[in-house]
């Protein structure tokens, strides 16, 4: 990404980010890849003594170095505004990284697979606890049984108002709709928020 030079009087450069969360192998990297203008990039974050391994099933062997790979994608919205997508590390021992990723994030998408709904509980718990607005995107894999969004919301015990969308994260348009729904949700959510610091979700 090459930003324009910052000249006096020009609007400032703004970067913002959305987190893409969900269980292992649910389609986080696929979603980032379907809408990012760059191939999902991986960057390595060093670990101390927290364990080894990456959230990827594509043959990335366990490594002897203590790093964790982190997926990110980029969408240039205007020449002054860039949106980053970060796939959250899927394993619980990497949760210390979530705090940095979540800081200042616009919101989050929790991808769910109806065959393994419980895999999305930790992500949902995390964002509820942190007060980060999120939507649930149910990835409709081939052969996955179709469920009504309302039933999934009940199964996930979501607060009223949390959008549940059926999607196919391989499709750019579908991923785009999910992101649009998230931003709309955040806009309506912050209207009802008590204050700017608003750590708690509106009482449901």
């Amino acid at each position: 990404m090459v930003f324009g030079r910052s000249e006096p009087g020009e609007p400032p450069l703004v970067t913002t980010k959305i987190l893409i969360a969900g269980g292992f192998g649910v389609g986080k990297t696929t979603m980032v890849g379907s809408i990012s203008e760059i191939r999902p990039l991986r960057t390595e974050e060093p670990l101390t003594d927290r364990g080894v391994g990456v959230d990827d099933v594509s043959g990335v062997e366990r490594k002897s170095t203590t790093t964790v790979a982190m997926d990110f994608g980029r969408i240039t919205l205007t020449d002054r505004l860039v949106l980053y997508l970060f796939g959250t590390p899927g394993q619980e021992r990497f949760w210390f990284m979530w705090d940095e990723l979540a800081l200042g994030a616009l919101g989050a998408v929790v991808i769910a697979d109806t065959r393994r709904l419980t895999d999305s509980f930790p992500s949902i718990d995390y964002f509820e606890r942190r007060g980060t607005p999120f939507v649930v995107a149910v990835n409709c894999f081939d052969g996955a049984e179709r469920h009504r969004a309302e039933d999934i919301a009940i199964a996930l015990d979501l607060d009223p108002g949390v959008p549940v969308l059926l999607c196919d994260v391989r499709q750019r348009e579908s991923s785009k709709e999910v992101l649009i729904s998230l931003v709309e949700h955040v806009l309506s959510w912050s209207e009802t928020e008590p204050g700017p610091a608003g750590a708690a979700a509106p009482a449901g």
């Binding site: 703004v14 913002t16 969408i75 919205l77 860039v82 980053y84 800081l103 200042g104 709309e184 610091a197």
Partner: protein, 110 residues
Amino acid sequence: MVRPYAMVRGRTRPRGESFDLISVVAATGERPGDRLRYSPEHARILRRCANPVSVVDLASEIALPLGVVRVLLGDLRDQGLVAVVATIQPVGDRPNRGVLREVLNGLRAL
């Protein structure tokens, strides 16, 4: 092969404030003179910062771990060679409504 953390002599975080993943950094235009005696990696980062770039893009492009890039950026900042380009600060922990609307319009236009 040089192990990444050898480049930064084992330091794992920059002096002073750390660099957010999506902060945009840019060279100040200050000439390095002989201040850049540290390493070729400092020089590479400084060159890449001739145009504003986010920290995460920078780390990815020059293929160094984020932690290392942050330490090297910190060195460059200490020397006044690189600065964080001002971005709109989020209200509280989140982007303000103007930014949210701009993101929404931008996504719809994709």
